[in-house]
């Protein structure tokens, strides 16, 4: 465990920023928090510059509260909205070049495995639909083909939000966006089926309406990646700006999409299923 590195050296507590002291004393390091207790502990991410009503910001907040091992987790991101919050969390974050997340994560995970063969160092990519399914598509797919042991989370807002609202491969067919002035001409990419075919051992698709379920899925994806191979979560995180969703209707929109094309879906290999069953049995006993 890398817990030692977050602790404050004796005698230095009074010199450390209050924010940091709170993180160590009342944060998530070294313990598993319940996502339903949000607001009752010091969270790994608090300040962020994302838009009011951004559902991606909400998802990222739940993501950080769900980490099984935050003191030994590294998050990777790329250009897009998500990194605005990711880069301000109390978890090491790597921001490389455009769409390179799954290649950088491959090298990183292998280096950590060479250097710390007896420790779990969780590597998690959180990138958008553009980063993973357009510009970084080849690297995303090949990291799965190679069975790299890290988690990929696609925060899908169905648009290039950060560059001003252009069509992405994940935008639904027919939607009129910048660079799609006549409406998008082809269907949303089926990322979940691609992930299964490419070799992911755990795949989930969700609309973030149920925080307990999001937390469970994130935890499962990270634990399965540790032991078995690549894992993938496809999360709908609407862009209320580019899709003109009034802030008060963002949750209703997520529920609406959950009834349509973002019905909760979870798939895993038999091996992974067995592992979770064993683990959950032990947890019940404990």
């Amino acid at each position: 465990m890398g817990l030692e590195y977050v602790k404050i050296s004796p005698g230095f507590e009074r010199y450390m920023p209050r924010d940091y002291v709170d993180l160590v004393k009342m944060g998530q390091f070294g313990r598993q928090v319940d996502v339903m207790d949000l607001g009752q502990f010091k969270e790994l991410v608090e300040d962020h510059p994302m838009c009011a009503g951004c559902y991606m910001a909400y998802f990222i907040r739940i993501f950080y509260a769900s980490l099984p091992n935050p003191e030994d987790t590294i998050v990777l991101g790329t250009a897009g909205c998500a990194r605005l919050a990711l880069s301000q969390a109390a978890v090491p974050f790597i921001y490389g070049n455009y769409g390179d997340t799954n290649a950088v994560a491959s090298g990183l995970k292998r280096a950590l495995t060479i250097r710390f063969p007896d420790k779990h160092k969780d590597v998690v990519v959180i990138a958008g639909d553009g980063g993973l399914m357009d510009i970084g598509f080849g690297m995303t797919m090949h990291s799965w083909f190679r069975r790299e042991k890290f988690t990929t989370i696609m925060v899908d807002n169905e648009v290039y939000g950060n560059t001003g609202g252009q069509e992405s491969g994940m935008s639904p067919k027919g939607v009129q966006l910048k660079m799609a002035p006549k409406g998008k001409q082809f269907d949303k990419i089926n990322a979940v089926e691609l992930a299964k075919v490419a070799g992911c051992v755990y795949v989930a698709k969700l609309s973030p309406t149920n925080p307990k379920r999001i937390a469970k899925v994130i935890r499962r994806a990270i634990l399965a990646a540790r032991h078995f191979g690549p894992t993938f979560i496809h999360a709908y995180t609407s862009c209320n700006i580019e899709y003109s969703i009034p802030t008060r209707e963002v949750l209703a929109d997520a529920r609406n999409r959950e009834k349509k094309d973002f019905k909760f879906y979870e798939w895993m290999t038999d091996e992974v299923k067995e592992y979770f069953e064993e683990m959950e049995k032990k947890e019940v006993k404990a």
Partner: protein, 390 residues
């Protein structure tokens, strides 16, 4: 299969250990350096003429000299994964050629700013259409403005020495930048030359990622909140400022590499006949041809010297100003059409009209010594009825 290796001091391995002469190709010379460099991970992607080097490095992984190795999806993926591995604290190596270099370039030119100490082999090849696999070296020009350290190897011996020394130079705390070891494809990679090799039962100490100006991203050092790769996303003012100071530091680090290049490679330049009237200034394979031309000229009683430039970045500006101060003419033979080395030389010396623009060959063709001799005769006012060597 693998020879038991003991860790020795880099100075001993590179400068003092007894050496044995072998007759090997440039690709083998790269691999011999990697064998002794204690490399954690090597990432490969095929392209002619580089592929053979990474085949041999793959064999080193199979034998146990390199801890991890894989064939990547393409060069952008390979170079990005190198960045990930190095951030994670590993020592990493890759190699590429021409179009592969340009495909990986977005990642490669970000390495200095991301402070990624690694070694990259570049075996030159035509990059522009019409397609060819021949060793034009115009691609080196694309590497000169990003903060990378760029060494240009003349022959198989340089390939070995520059690659092995590249790791300690790259990882010095006051440098911490990637080192490119460029050489001409085929002429060096696929041809054999004599290489003096230190014993294969010795290797460099492992990389110590904590001896660094920027921390590795491995969750093993305080504090919890690490922002190593700050996307410059604050106000415009902060954005200018952060980028500016960071890049200033990258280029200062590039300058600080000089002393280590001098230490391990005996200087940024090599000079033959320092009191010459006319100098050939060249790097890589052109320096080998320049060396021959200098030898012929000497045999003809002409006062011609050679300056071989080993380090293109940092560039030996002061050294060139000093050695060329009394030169009547400076001939810069090159393996490319743009004359990037000629421009570099002209930019750092007074009276640039002394510089002869060429001879240049391109498309990867060979550079006959006669072309350099023609320029020597021309600048010295020698008229030859029939051009014969010696």
């Amino acid at each position: 299969m693998m020879v038991e290796q003991k860790v020795v001091d880099p100075d001993y391995l590179i400068l003092e250990a007894p050496r044995e002469r072998k007759f090997i190709t440039g690709s083998q010379a790269f691999a011999e350096a990697i064998k002794r460099a204690n490399v954690d991970i090597a990432i490969a992607y095929p392209i002619t003429p580089q592929s053979e080097t990474m085949h041999l490095v793959g064999d080193l992984w199979a034998q146990g000299y390199v801890k991890d190795y894989y064939r990547a999806e393409e060069e952008y993926g390979a170079m990005s994964a190198i960045a990930g591995a190095v951030r994670g604290g590993a020592r990493a190596f890759s190699a590429t050629s021409g179009p592969g270099l340009l495909r990986g370039l977005e990642a490669i030119v970000s390495w200095p700013g991301h402070r990624i100490p690694a070694v990259l082999g570049v075996m030159t090849r035509v990059v522009n259409a019409p397609l060819s696999i021949q060793p034009d070296n115009v691609e080196i020009a694309y590497l000169l403005h990003s903060g990378l350290i760029v060494l240009h190897a003349e022959n198989q011996q340089d390939v070995f020495d520059f690659t092995l020394a590249g790791f300690p130079i790259s990882e010095k705390v006051d440098v911490y930048l990637p080192v490119v070891v460029a050489t001409e494809g085929f002429f060096v990679t696929h041809a054999k030359g004599y290489v003096e090799l230190p014993p294969e039962d010795m290797k460099l100490p492992p990389r110590d990622p904590y001896k660094a100006p920027v921390p590795p991203t491995d969750c093993e050092i305080p504090p919890a909140r690490i922002q190593r790769d700050a996307p410059v996303q604050k106000s415009n003012f902060m954005s200018y400022l952060i980028h500016a100071v960071w890049q200033q530091e990258v280029w200062s680090a590039n300058e600080r590499a000089r002393k280590w290049i001098k230490h391990y490679l005996g200087g940024l330049i090599e000079v033959v006949n320092p009191k010459a009237e006319v100098f050939i200034v060249a790097s890589g394979c052109a320096a080998a041809q320049g060396r021959e031309a200098q030898r012929y000229a000497e045999m003809e009683g002409l006062n011609v010297g050679l300056v071989k430039i080993k380090s293109i970045r940092p560039f030996p500006a002061q050294e060139l100003r000093e050695i060329l101060k009394d030169a009547k003419a400076i001939i810069v033979p090159e393996h490319n059409i743009v004359g990037w080395l000629c421009k570099e030389v002209k930019a750092v010396i007074p009276n640039g009209d002394r510089v002869v623009e060429g001879p240049r060959v391109y498309g990867g063709m060979t550079l006959p010594v006669e072309l350099i001799m023609d320029e020597i005769y021309r600048v010295l006012g020698i008229k030859k009825a029939k051009k014969t060597l010696v």
